[in-house]
Assembly symmetry: C2
Homo-oligomer: 387 residues x 2
Amino acid sequence: MKSTVARRMDGFSPFYVMELLQRAKELEAEGKEIIHMEVGEPDFPTPAGIIDAAMKHIQTGNVKYTAAAGLPELRAEISQFYLKNYKVKLAPERIFITPGASGAFLLALEISLNKGEEILMADPCYPCNHNFVRLMEAQTKFINVGADTEYQLTSELIKQHWSDKTKGVLIASPSNPTGTLITDEELQLSIEQVNSLGGSFYSDEIYHGLVYGKKARSALEFSDDVFVINSFSKYFAMTGWRIGWVIVPEAFVNAAERFSQTVFISTATHSQYAALAAFSTNNITELESRKHEFEKRRDFLYENLIRLGFKISVKPEGAFYIYADCSRFTNDSFQFAKDLLEQQGVAVTPGKDFGNNNSNCHIRFAYTASVAKIALGIERLEKFICQ
Amino acid sequence: MKSTVARRMDGFSPFYVMELLQRAKELEAEGKEIIHMEVGEPDFPTPAGIIDAAMKHIQTGNVKYTAAAGLPELRAEISQFYLKNYKVKLAPERIFITPGASGAFLLALEISLNKGEEILMADPCYPCNHNFVRLMEAQTKFINVGADTEYQLTSELIKQHWSDKTKGVLIASPSNPTGTLITDEELQLSIEQVNSLGGSFYSDEIYHGLVYGKKARSALEFSDDVFVINSFSKYFAMTGWRIGWVIVPEAFVNAAERFSQTVFISTATHSQYAALAAFSTNNITELESRKHEFEKRRDFLYENLIRLGFKISVKPEGAFYIYADCSRFTNDSFQFAKDLLEQQGVAVTPGKDFGNNNSNCHIRFAYTASVAKIALGIERLEKFICQ
């Protein structure tokens, strides 16, 4: 026997956009100005109230381990947040603080998914998801979705694709890369479907704060028997702080506790103290005004991409992404992205990072840059496609 | 099929000391002064230079994702550290920054260990280790060790216990809970043994900075084909910052990169900027003086435990633990620990948290408290056993 890479790493995909990021850095080092529309993190700094709370804690020098599941006061805050935002009563014991939503996904799947089982997911979707499933030596069954279902799974699709091997369903709403939401009705029906089939329902709600002109409903409004993944990264602008949370069904609390003790010991303490300030009225006011800024950017980018000839079948209502069909210009969106970066200094993410569903004809644009920068990006994009 | 806890969580042990910690908190809430000799983290605050570096970074508000493997400048610093400390030339590409040593263990085992394979470990050892192995649905083969081998595995023991299922060997030196080191010769022979058997060698070096009157050698001094786990938690007093690192063999770099991208995205950015200040001359001077303080505590605690009738077959040379044989007083050290806490307000960790090798006759004392506090603990312990 040789010391070799474990089987679970087979088919564990890297991100194609990394190659573009690397090249973008080189171009920047040469003095070129790059317009970044590939980045999945807010361009806004972490709000001042959160920064202050972190500094106050760090200054004590007392940055020690917390309880594995997280600071009790932070779990209580999050419980209150669900009551206020979703009218859901949630025992803090079911809330586990994790190193980002990544830690939340890891925890949820490790404690619930066995080797050989299968998870249903929409294609396109966030590329890490199937890697996590792969980590358990389980399989992802991708279901092609399109504009007719808002790029989301439906209870009908779930029923149709369910097999003996299926363990559960992962929904992300708003979706990355499409920014589209599942309808309230379909969310409810899908959860009921999965529960009636005895499966696990995983609801990725990390973009919930960033929904424009409507309100996203939490899976917890329809059932207690769901895993909900959320994060301070996106709406709260805390990406680098690496803090998120997962809510587990009552029957999984003990396993989640044991998992956290071993695998996390605890989540970064200063990030937890910082997050305690995230729910204050002042901070939420600040974040809501940022949300309006994101909405303006979405509208600006959407209109301009349509004008240039991109096809966007469903106007995205959340997150900070537009997944645009670029088939009028290319059927190799990775090459298109490389050329666009090289010739015009605009960085975008190729569709192939999000699956195989006609992904070579798609590009994800992130509006994590100011309207002025997006305008410059559009100007360059126009030059590129009109050359 | 029902939505149930995954099989890999079977036999995933909780920590018995948690029950004691919970009770200690209750007693403290009642106004009792508890002497903590159970805690596996330095009582010292994070050094001022590290705090300052963190604050400077956080103040910018720019706490964004870093590269998945970590800040290039931090990986370069760690590479320099190996050159200076161990005379080992190490490509920064082999160094991955992780959320604590926990993240390092997770990465190392996920990318190298398959279901059904077996890892050899000493009993007693750190309780999380076999949980990590269990996470891969692999098995731990515990090998009872004692004073004759400094509570460490040897090349002879490895050879003797190696089977078709064995994938590799995990060594921790200094060991938690015994504080004992593997000899340089045995470290070299063990690595050679494992390499010649085609297995993986995992070296837990998280207590390397805390070695008294001698110097611990890194597994990397003997082979490039090893996994080395280290952390900023113990020597650098950064527990709550959740930052560590793992060094992987060249052949695992690509898998480690893909794993990090999905499972960590990155390690907390402010912790990484803080850690950049850890290797400065001023900071190391400060940490070395703390090390001398730990050494004094070790001597004080060691002498007093011996005086009281505990048996300590090998004087520990590292970490901040003494694993004492309490068979003169009890053959149920968990009950002993509970009673000691209840009656005298002294918290210690029962042997059963570290394995099954005569663990009911052992207690782990941590000297993560001042000499004055340890003296008070000893006074109370004396009352307890003489009552």
